[in-house]
Amino acid sequence: MSTSNGTLAVRTKDVWKIYPQEPNPVKAVRGVSLEIESGDFVAMAGPSGSGKTTVLNLLGGLTRPTEGSIWIGGDEITSMPDKALARLRLERIGFVFQAYNLLPVLSAMENAEFTLLLRGVPASERHERVRALFDEMGLEGLEDRFPGKLSGGQQQRVAVARAVVGEPALVLADEPTANLDSVASSALLDIMERLNREHGTTFVFSTHDPRVMARARRLITLVDGEISTDVRQNHETSGA
């Protein structure tokens, strides 16, 4: 069942990312052009060094392309000023990182509500939204724990909660299951699929894991910074 609605969440046109390095510059991304519809559930696969993380960083505005253009929900971000780019990340993009990257000095609740805090959402509303998400994601009762006191799976679920709590149009996840065991990976994917299905959030995630790739509705394979294959996988997503 697809939740794509025909509008574009992401569009890139001939994007290159070249790192100046002597004697040979590193071409991490080579002429990537793609379009991702809103509400899609897309996996990016490929061997290490194929450019998956760089593409995600480019889509999230964390780094700028050497050449080419990127649009997020219709806004061209390549030449967007830093301040506007930060605002776009805050309001329209959620990030999930392989190493969870929760802020160590904040509790689970404080981490999850962080983007809402930056947006100026009142405390009562922040807490209400995070608690609802935590209940949905099996994190109830862990609100006051600090990252160091959470398991890897729990930390990654808090990171997902942080990414989606502001209801961004796009969530970029860089190998979100890489540090999790198969049970925790499957549980996390269930949550991501449910959020995608129920909230229409577009997910783009990178992975090495064939089981994770199999659950994506669209699988883009990168090799040496280029799109090697781009296939739509017709299957029903599993329920939560």
């Binding site: 780094t63 392989q98 990257n101 802020l103 805090l117 930056l118």
Partner: protein, 421 residues
């Protein structure tokens, strides 16, 4: 800019990373504590030095005839009527700040014995007043200090006695130019011999009763200096100002603070202050580098954390403010702790004084510019000095946080996210 959120985040980062914060703050805490300790010792030593010098000299405040400071001549003395006006003015401003005041009639002359003759400074003093004012009576090594009913007695330095071959009871002649311009002699007898460890006093100072001096020099009721001793040298400027106001328009009298009346002491203290400033500048520089290093290490070790902040929607500048805020909180907290520690350490261990006599046992080693610093130095806290130390520490802490904040603000987010993965 969301300053409230940024500083809240910085405060949490400082508060919830107790060990990291403590390590970062340690340099600042120790630096400020050491600074307060050393400043209080320096203040204590200075106060003792000044007190010693002014008690043996012309007081914290001296009232003289306007030309006397430059000429030092008897012709520039204060007459009996003007002296009464000076006494009235001192009595009017006395209050708690004035500990004692005493008249002096000073003249330079020659002391002659059967064996030799030496140049001396003869001070006619009021024996009772002088006992309160000066501690010269406590420096007696033979005989006694002057008494009110003494007439032809003299209290002389130990080195002068040795050179003139005088002992207690010996007679010798003082010769000086009197008010009339003639050279007049006065026979006196040694009542006591003192030792101050200040060479110029031990070799050349003689106290005689002021009435004897007045008769000898033909200056009835006159003085050359009325010396005022205050509770603290820090009261000097205020008392000088008040006396100047009261004596404004009195062309016979001039009010001087000790810095003006004893320029050699002022210069010596300024030299000492300069040494302190150099020492404290070095200390400040070390503290500043330590703070910058600690904050810098803390920033470099948290690149990914700052990368996450920017990925989540903070701008580079806002990330810099978080780091700056952390530095600011650490500085304020360290400043408060360092100040408390400095006070506590100094008060608990050294409130009765720190004994430096082991460094140099000879008393003369502690004598300089007309005063003697007691080798047991009692620290003194002056709020202005403490606030100045705190002020400088806060500035240094703040400045030392700027560079790390700039580094954090210019972070390459994608690179930072890879860092240490």
């Amino acid at each position: 800019m969301r300053f409230r959120i940024l500083f809240k985040l910085a405060a949490r980062s400082v508060g919830r990373n107790a060990r990291r914060s403590a390590l970062t703050a340690a340099a600042m805490v120790l630096g400020l504590a050491l600074l307060i300790f050393s400043r209080s010792l320096a203040e204590g030593a200075h106060e003792q030095w000044v007190t010693s010098a002014v008690r043996m000299g012309s007081g914290h405040v001296a009232i003289q005839e306007p030309s006397y400071l430059v000429s030092g001549k008897l012709e520039h003395r204060i007459g009996a009527k003007a002296y009464q006006r000076a006494l009235d003015a001192v009595a009017a401003v006395a209050g708690d700040r004035v500990v004692a005041h005493a008249p002096r009639l000073t003249v330079t002359g020659l002391a002659s014995s059967a064996s030799s003759a030496l140049p001396v400074r003869v001070e006619g003093v009021d024996p009772d007043g002088e006992r309160i004012f000066s501690d010269l009576d406590e420096k007696v090594v033979d005989g006694r200090y002057l008494q009110p009913d003494d007439r032809l007695h003299a209290y002389i330095g130990v080195e002068l006695a040795r050179r003139l071959g005088l002992r207690v009871g010996s007679r010798f002649v003082l010769t000086a130019q009197s008010a009339s311009g003639d050279v007049e002699g006065q026979l006196v007898r040694v009542a006591g011999i003192f030792k101050t460890a200040i060479p110029e006093m031990d070799e050349g100072l003689i106290h005689i009763p002021i009435e004897t001096a007045r008769e000898w020099l033909g200056t009835p009721g006159a003085i050359t200096t009325h010396a005022v001793l205050l509770e603290s040298s820090r009261d000097t400027d205020g008392v000088v100002e008040e006396l100047q106001d009261r004596l404004a328009g009195d062309s016979d009298l001039r009010v001087l603070g000790w810095r003006e009346a004893s320029p050699e002491l002022d210069s010596a203290l300024r030299m000492d202050d300069y040494g302190d400033y150099v020492f404290h500048s070095i200390l400040f520089a070390i503290v500043a580098l330590a703070i910058m290093n600690a904050v810098m290490m803390s920033v470099l070790g948290r690149r990914r954390e700052f990368g996450v902040l920017q990925a989540l929607g903070l701008t580079g500048a806002e990330t810099g403010w978080v780091v700056f805020g952390e530095g600011l909180f650490l500085t304020v907290a360290s400043g408060a702790v360092g100040m408390a520690l400095g006070f506590l350490f100094t008060w608990v261990f050294f409130r009765d004084g720190l004994d430096f006599s082991g460094i140099a046992e000879s008393e003369s080693a502690w004598a300089s510019a007309g005063g003697i610093v007691d080798p047991v130095i009692v620290p003194i806290f002056h709020s202005s000095q403490v606030l100045l130390s705190l002020y400088f520490t806060l500035i240094i802490g703040t400045l030392a946080s700027i560079y790390p904040a700039m580094r954090a603000s210019k972070l390459d987010v994608a690179e930072a996210m890879k860092f240490d993965q």
